[in-house]
């Protein structure tokens, strides 16, 4: 995932030397406007407005939701579920990864069960989460956390397993206690893996939250897209999709900033 991002960045850099950044931004804007015009033009003429709506209706819907403030209620519900789900999943996943990475017995004991759980599509757990946590935001948090948990767990586990045995032996010879070996050698060494896991799992937290809201809820962007669809309100569906896309981009932006910080502290890039 990160590799393809890097490749994209390289491609962008190459392009920027050819044409210049400003020109490219103008071209990108022009393309966006062109798409909107085509969409508006096609809608109602070539394709029924019912199926693809049109940019003006979508814009009006977004404006209306913004003015009456209702979109912020849904946006906040989704952001809240994403963040809490991410944090809970990350903490449990990291702890589990470190524990099983250190304890050979526990990892061998639990191996088949973890494989089965990992292979299970987490969405299938949604009804269970609704039964356990109710229709409120808790069940969305649980679904987001379940997606994040396994990604972070697998990365952390691999990271702990990759720790150089010579570094551990060296620390033990220097009278490190078992706890010190874990906190001062194993965890710092696995940290770059852990962060890679966190990075890839951010979009999954959003997926979990939105899916949870689609299944059973009365607020959130997932609920809104589901509700609009059920009302045959295509403009509403498109409007929510735009909000979700913007939210996803904002999350990626935050991840990039954090990643740059981490590289500054030499946690990620080695």
């Amino acid at each position: 995932m990160t590799v393809s991002n890097d490749q994209l960045e390289i491609a962008e850099n190459e392009m920027s030397t050819g044409t210049g950044n400003l020109v490219m931004v103008l071209c990108q804007t022009a393309l966006g406007i062109a798409i909107l015009f085509v969409w508006q033009g096609v809608s109602g003429r070539l394709v029924d407005n019912f199926f693809i709506s049109n940019p003006l209706d979508v814009g009006r819907r977004l404006l209306g939701w913004t003015l009456d403030g209702s979109i912020f209620l849904h946006l906040w519900a989704t952001v809240y579920a994403t963040m809490l789900g991410f944090i809970i999943g990350a903490v449990i996943g990291a702890a589990l990864g470190i524990w099983l990475g250190i304890s050979t017995f526990a990892s061998r004991l639990l191996n088949p069960y973890l494989n089965a759980l990992n292979a299970l599509p987490k969405v299938a757990l949604a009804p269970l989460f609704v039964l356990w946590f109710g229709l409120g935001i808790e069940s969305k948090i649980a679904l987001a956390a379940s997606l994040v948990l396994f990604l972070v767990f697998l990365n952390t586990f691999a990271g702990v397993r990759q720790v150089d045995q010579d570094l551990i032996d060296g620390a033990r010879l220097m009278r490190a206690t078992r706890l010190q070996v874990v906190t001062k050698v194993i965890v710092p060494s696995a940290l770059s893996w852990l962060f890679a896991g966190l990075r890839v799992s951010v979009p999954y937290a959003l997926i979990g939250a939105v899916l949870g809201e689609m299944i059973a809820s009365n607020r959130g962007l997932g609920y809104l897209v589901q509700f609009s669809g059920a009302q045959f309100d295509t403009a509403g569906v498109f409007a929510v999709l735009i909000v979700i896309a913007l939210l996803a981009m904002a999350l990626n932006f935050v991840v990039d900033i954090v990643q740059n910080r981490m590289e500054g502290w030499r946690i990620v890039s080695r």
Partner: protein, 259 residues
Amino acid sequence: MTGMIEIQHVSKGFRRGDNVVEALRDFNLTIEKREVIAIIGPSGCGKSTLLNMIAGLYMPSKGRVIYKGAAVTDVNTDVGYMTQKDNLLPWRNVRDNIAFPLELAGVDKAEREARAVAVIKQVGLDGFEARFPTELSGGMRKRACLARMMLYGAETALLDEPFAALDAQLKLVMHELLLRLAAENGQTVVFVTHDLMEAVTLADRVIVCTRRPAMIALEQKISLPRPRDVLNVRFTNEFKELYDALWERLRVEYQEERV
């Protein structure tokens, strides 16, 4: 008289697929406190395995290693070990790496940093305190490892070809440093080397190993006076006689290997 480290009838084999490679066979050696022992022999003859067993990282297949009267059955925390590979922690800078053993022992931050900076000066790494291991040359990393081991002040220092990667000048500086610090701390030193010049310069006793499985081919006491002038000792007649005698035996060992 019992020594500080006694290696008694030690054999060690490693499983490689179906066959067992024997690294050491019936190895016997007694090392006295504060002695400096150099172990020299053809590469891959099991010298490093011997150090690993003194450190308690490997257990002998047969025989036993006695350290201060007790058999080594677990990691031996009384030794400092400098391996061929420099085991610096890549996420710590030079100063924090060198201060690491003090940090483990719970020495407070101000004191351990002051002590680390002092020893960094001694190994000539001043100005590089804040660098990370990946930003250092191989020789600099070795110096950092030596500094760490010396700061930590382990009773016994095990060194596995510590200075092989250094240039001749720096090697002499490190030799001087090693002998001085070992004498100051009253350390017992066991080091493995390829370099006969280095072995005779530093050691009280040179052990020449046969090729694998390693046995002792020859033991030579080096009665050059201490403290040794590492720069000039090599030009004395005594040194030359010892060197030639050892070289003769070593040559036989290497020739056998070539056949």
